[in-house]
Symmetry: C2
Subunit: 328 residues, 2 copies
């Protein structure tokens, strides 16, 4: 491997001048520039990134936390972020937390040991106080999730509004017995807010909710199957069900279909996210503008890194959209 020293020697110049050419600094004559470029080519030279990182004290790399990359919502988010980052000369390190607190904490070392310039969190398992101390090592941007105590920028959607929108739609269609089927409702702020919006819509319409119509811990298609089973065994069954994701909605729809139910006549179903799956299964769903969230979050991050000063709290709240299909 040729080093900058070799290039310098070959070109009959100093390391400094070579470095200047590489980094496009001013004050190098065309003549020398040519000499250096030629030497670099002949030696097949490329600057060593570890050395550059050390000297520059920056890595041009950003860590992105997701629970699991196979979740279409997150893979979509990551796809757009990677594209955006590459455009600006940054790379992405993928961190799958697997919904585990410990796993999430482990990855924090990346920032501390200066392996990345910053962190984007798309889901949060730990309390914010776990992240707080790491802010001194580099910027953190929250995306999709949010936390009241986090003193960093957050790009997110008002989930209260989103679930309100979906629930209101069900109510407008005339359903009065509405089930609720989502993931965890305790830890994540997203889940909490979704529930608030749901209840708010019911409340405004003066509709009652039964405890047995709540189904929790539903994330996947499989979970949707299970939820339908429970639902179908109730004496007093809901006429419609609000879900936290298109996968769950699809699972319920499939199970209902297999059981000979008609959708939406016997059971109306509304999904969340507007994934390709939703179109495929003709599911009404609440769309989140994933592209925009991802881009905004990445832009904030790159800005923060380049400005080299800590980010302050800032909220970017984007709107939802209802996609009406035949499942409601």
């Amino acid at each position: 491997m040729a080093t900058i020293q070799d290039v310098a020697k070959k070109a009959g110049l100093s390391r400094t001048t070579v470095s200047r050419v590489i980094n496009e600094h001013p004050y190098v004559t065309e003549e020398k520039k040519r000499l250096v470029t030629q030497a670099m080519q002949e030696l097949n030279y490329v600057p060593n990134s570890s050395a550059r990182r050390l000297r520059r004290q920056q890595t041009e790399t950003i860590a992105v936390y997701v629970p699991r990359i196979t979740n279409p919502f997150f893979s979509h988010l990551v796809e757009v972020m990677e594209k955006e980052a590459a455009k600006k000369g940054y790379q992405l390190i993928l961190c799958q937390t697997r919904y585990k607190k410990e796993q999430e904490r482990n990855f924090l070392e990346l920032l501390k040991t200066k392996q990345v310039d910053g962190l984007i969190l798309t889901s949060i398992e730990n309390d914010w106080s776990e992240f707080e101390p790491y802010l001194s090592f580099g910027p953190i941007v929250v995306c999709n999730e949010y936390s009241d105590s986090a003193q960093v920028p957050s790009v997110y959607l008002n989930q209260i509004e989103g679930s309100y929108l979906g629930t209101k739609h069900l109510i407008d269609q005339g359903y009065t017995k509405i089930g609720y089927c989502t993931g965890n409702h305790k830890s994540s702020r997203v889940s909490k807010d979704r529930k608030i919006g749901f209840l708010q819509a019911l409340d405004e319409a003066g509709i009652m909710m039964k405890e047995e119509w709540f189904f929790y811990n539903a994330y996947s298609v499989q979970d949707g199957f299970a939820a339908f089973k429970k639902l179908s065994e109730l004496d007093d069954k809901p006429q419609a069900v609000f879900t936290g994701s298109d996968e769950v909605a699809a699972g319920i729809a499939k199970a209902a279909f297999d059981a000979g139910w008609r959708v939406p006549e016997d059971l109306a179903i509304i999904g969340f996210d507007n994934q390709p799956l939703a179109a495929l299964m003709d599911l009404t769903t609440v769309e989140q503008p994933i592209d925009t969230i991802a881009k905004q979050a990445m832009n904030l991050m790159v800005e923060a890194i380049q400005a080299k000063k800590p980010l302050s709290r800032k909220e970017v709240i984007l709107p939802f959209q209802l996609i009406k299909r035949s499942s409601t």
Copy 2:
């Protein structure tokens, strides 16, 4: 930020000794070890990874090439790889080539500039000769794809066998007019082999194929819609269709359903991959053992990095499995 020097001073020892403690080298008394650990804690010290990378000449990072992370097949692959890599202390850098030759070549700089220790390719757009020269910078492992000229390990499936398996199944079910709907059939070896296996099965059964029953450039659900449209407008329609992915199969199934066709009576459909989507749509499909491919590829890579010697050609060929559902 505290450096190793600060720790050394605080502990009243040399950098060398501190480094020994960090890296768990022998020949340090318990007494000093304790001193160092304490100093590290008090100063909240963590070793700077850039410096370590520079000195050690390795990055503990692996680049993974995928076309798009939103493609469930690849996101599944990456999920498993990341898990496996993390277990061994490596990180993953995500490189989306977007099926573009140029994009793919761009990412090669990562290896050249020593930003990663090695490359795993899960899809190949360029000719192998483009990769060849980069082998001197670090190991490359091919996964899922394969190339005859590549002098590196490849973990893959015999796609001839896979499509043969699926096609044979259709034939066994009694279909004699079989359509073929996949992605590109020219550039990628995977596609080429799939076609060979398909034709082989037909040939063995003495079944004829019509030119108009080939549908190419089908990757997504949308493409499936389009393919069905073309298919349904034919005078002589196939009774069954072999597809290159579950998404395409799902698209065809959905379009067929919307057009009032019954599956499999009016049109039998077979998918590829056995994604959750296939279960949801009740699609018969050819399963690829993604977990195994991913793990094996990652293990080979880590081995190569740690052995520090170039990898030689080696083939790991894994078996397919037919998942029978109601679409055939």
